[in-house]
């Protein structure tokens, strides 16, 4: 009872956390994608995305620049939550422990400690859970303050420290989110501590709390049913009826409440009143044990009122119903033994919805699933079934991956056949282009060096035009050809040549600064052209590399993955067989126990039917004689 309440709270916390992380505005798309899957209870996909994102984040040189950085604490917590929800208790807690050990603020460390404690609690590691809670100090996030205390109380309850549990739970009376749970568990703690009178009073209070938190009506029902049962066992029948009457008629505990309410009235010798709840109950689904018991109890009550005819008729109806139930039980057991039960469980239409357990109710009535809902009440069966369904998911995934390897290999082969013949020609062209690019790059470097040297030491002749250079060379040749000739003609020519040389020097020198500016401008333009060329060069290298990478280097990873998938498939197959066998055994043993109980009811009904007929006949005879 205690653990059931605590599990309910833990579950609601996981859901709200996923929403909290997103409320602040997610800046990491892949974390958001993981939440998208988690919100649909697709925890495998959620874990796959988030594991990959976190792995990538921790592999970065500068993780602080990544979009996940501001959410990394939330992401680590989410991994733990997803693992728990995916029933990977062994792995859950690793990531949270890493946060706890890291250099983080109080508020983050305390939340991590709480989450770790919750994981330990779910794994039944109660000492570790308490140790984790012991690490909480300093600021605690407001939204988990009550959850921390509630968890502490639950750990105390689970370790028989009822006085400490009660003290903590008293502090939670009036909590916004946990009042109903805390009120109910306080009653249980008092009961566990031997304070029965206080416990009854507390459960009475818990059963009438008007809180609006999620799950409050169920907890009220639970409190009232437990209280009613305790009062019934203490022979306080009127009080018991008052509590049991508060249980909702349409709730999941309604059948048990009606049955007990009937017995309370019966033991109070108020047989007419006992008939009322039992009559309602006897009309309900006859696979429910409470209904079956009511079918037997109802005619018994009529018998006590000496209405033996009605009693005999109802015993007869009960016998018919029990026979029908026994037939269904036998069909169910037979069907399970034929292996049909496991086939029914993995039907795709059930798996489409996260509330698949609820969907089971709408399954067609087949022998293999008659008692499925009742079987699910067993924790062991429920866990086994979840595991079996998870294994089935893994099997389908592995099967689909196995078939995709062939497609990958075909794709790689087609790419290879396309690219490989093209590459020699492309490489030849690339080599030619490469040498031309290198030449231009060298020229560019030379010009840049010259520009630098001109800025330091001006050399106007370096910026002379081609024409000026040609004229200069011509004038030099004229001077050389005149040699030492001292004839008047030669002197005149030399003089003219020098004048022209002077003019040329004048022009080159006076135009130098403009030319230097122009030179710089052209060099910049050249730089732009060089940038384009370099980008094209790099693009070519990338494209060429991408072409090769599109078919090279996959052989070993695919082979390795193929082997891993194959091994995992075999292991999943083996585990499914074992898990399935176990499920069948649990189901059959449960159904056999039901069958035994039903046979017992049937025997009682037969004797009671005969007895009722005798009494009815005797009464009639007596009336006739009178």
């Amino acid at each position: 009872m205690i653990r059931a309440a605590s599990a309910l709270v833990a579950f609601s916390f996981v859901i709200s956390f996923s929403a909290d992380a997103a409320e602040d505005g997610l800046s990491d798309l892949y974390f958001g994608e993981a939440l998208f899957y988690a919100n649909q209870s697709q925890f495998f996909e959620a874990l796959e995305r988030l594991d990959a994102e976190l792995g990538q984040y921790y592999g970065l040189d500068e993780p602080a620049l990544d979009t996940l950085h501001i959410h990394v604490g939330d992401a680590e917590f989410s991994v733990g939550d997803f693992e728990l929800s995916y029933r990977m208790h062994h792995r859950a807690g690793r990531a949270i422990t890493a946060v706890l050990e890291g250099d983080v603020e109080d508020i983050v460390r305390n939340e991590a400690a709480f989450r770790l404690a919750r994981i330990h609690f779910q794994k039944d590691q109660l000492d570790d859970a308490l140790n984790a809670l012991g690490r909480i100090e300093g600021d605690v996030p407001d939204e988990i303050e009550d959850d921390v205390e509630f968890l502490r109380a639950n750990i105390y309850l689970a370790t028989d420290r009822s006085e400490e549990a009660a003290e903590v739970l008293r502090g939670l009376q009036g909590s916004d989110t946990l009042e109903s749970f805390a009120a109910y568990n306080l009653g249980i703690a008092m009961l566990q501590g031997g304070h029965e009178a206080d416990a009854l009073q507390q459960l009475d209070r818990a059963g009438q709390l008007g809180t609006a938190e999620p799950g409050a009506p169920s907890i009220r029902d639970k409190s009232n049913l437990v209280l009613g049962t305790l009062l019934l066992e203490s022979d306080r029948y009127t009080d018991a009826i008052r509590s049991l009457d508060r249980v909702r008629l349409e709730g999941p505990l309604s059948n048990q409440a009606l049955l007990s309410a009937g017995w309370a009235a019966f033991y109070a010798e108020n047989f007419e009143r006992a008939i009322v709840p039992w009559s309602i109950l006897a009309e309900r689904d006859s696979t429910d044990p409470s209904v079956q018991e009511a079918m037997l109890a109802l005619p018994y009550a009529y018998g006590q009122l000496s209405i033996h005819g009605r009693s005999a008729v109802l015993y007869g109806q009960a016998l018919d119903a029990f026979s029908e139930e026994l037939r269904k039980l036998d069909a169910s057991i037979g069907s399970i033994r034929e292996g049909k039960f496991l086939q029914a469980l993995i039907r795709e239409e059930i798996r489409q919805n996260k509330d698949w357990v609820i969907q089971l109710r709408s399954l067609p009535e087949t022998p293999e699933t008659y008692y499925l809902m009742e079987l699910l009440a067993s924790h062991d069966f429920h866990t086994s079934l979840q595991n079996y369904l998870d294994l089935e998911d893994l099997r389908a995934k592995l099967q689909s991956w196995q078939s995709s390897f062939d497609a990958f290999e075909d794709m790689i082969e087609i790419r290879k056949q396309y690219y490989e013949p093209l590459l020699p020609d492309i490489d030849q062209q690339f080599r030619e282009l490469d040498s031309r690019i290198r030449l231009r790059q060298e020229q560019h470097t030379l010009l840049e060096q010259r520009m630098q040297s001109l800025l330091i030491a001006p050399r106007p002749e370096f910026l002379a035009t081609m024409e000026e250079r040609r004229i200069n060379e011509q004038l030099n040749r004229i001077e050389q050809s005149l040699g030492d000739d001292s004839s008047p003609q030669a002197v005149a020519l030399r003089e003219r040549a020098r004048r022209l040389q002077g003019l040329l020097t004048w022009t080159v020198t006076t135009a130098y600064h403009d030319r230097l500016t122009e030179f710089g401008k052209h060099l910049n333009e050249l730089q732009s052209a060089m940038d384009v060329m370099t980008a094209q060069y790099e693009s070519f290298v990338r494209v060429r590399q991408a072409a090769v990478h599109s078919y090279e280097g996959y052989e070993i990873p695919i082979r390795r993955l193929r082997t891993r998938v194959s091994e995992a498939s075999a292991k999943v197959g083996l585990l499914m067989a074992r898990q399935g066998r176990l499920l069948e055994l649990v189901a059959i043993s449960e159904l056999v126990a039901r069958r035994d109980r039903l046979e017992n009811y049937q025997n009682q009904a037969r004797y009671a039917l005969a007895d009722s007929y005798d009494r009815a006949t005797a009464a009639q005879t007596s009336r006739v004689q009178e």
Partner: protein
Amino acid sequence: MPKLIRVVLVISIGVFCWSPGWAQELSGEEMRSLDGQVQEIKSDVLGIAAELSTLEERLLYPSNTQLAVFVSLASGETLRLDAVRIQIDGEAVAHYIYSFKELEALQDGGVQRIYTGNVTTGMHEMTVSVAGKSQSGSDFSETESFSFNKGIDPRLIGLTVAGPGSGQAAIQLGEW
């Protein structure tokens, strides 16, 4: 008779926190062992999935051409998003119709990767159409076009959808 029925009653009270004792003895140890092994295989398969995803991404969506488009709802948005349609450079690449479950996942802050594909480097045009119903039940549809540049790194584009009356643009483009 009363005694017999009382025994039955005690059993029925026990059902409240009951699991079949015989079945428990039968299978408790094996169940725990199997549960551990199931957890191990889940871990193994998650490892395979991670490696396979990396391989698929390398093979199908190399980083120099990879484009991924994500869809989310604006914070607190109550719009009932029915469908999103995406065209890139005039070609339809994604058309998604949302189930109720997916819509709830989006409303709870989830982000859906609606499209992963390849585009060449350079400028591209994306046209996004959304259709749904506003909280008041009136039909809502909107189409927006955006230009985006694809460089040599993988390109991630986030689309945030907001309903009428939210005071925000119906389709907002975010870049990562």
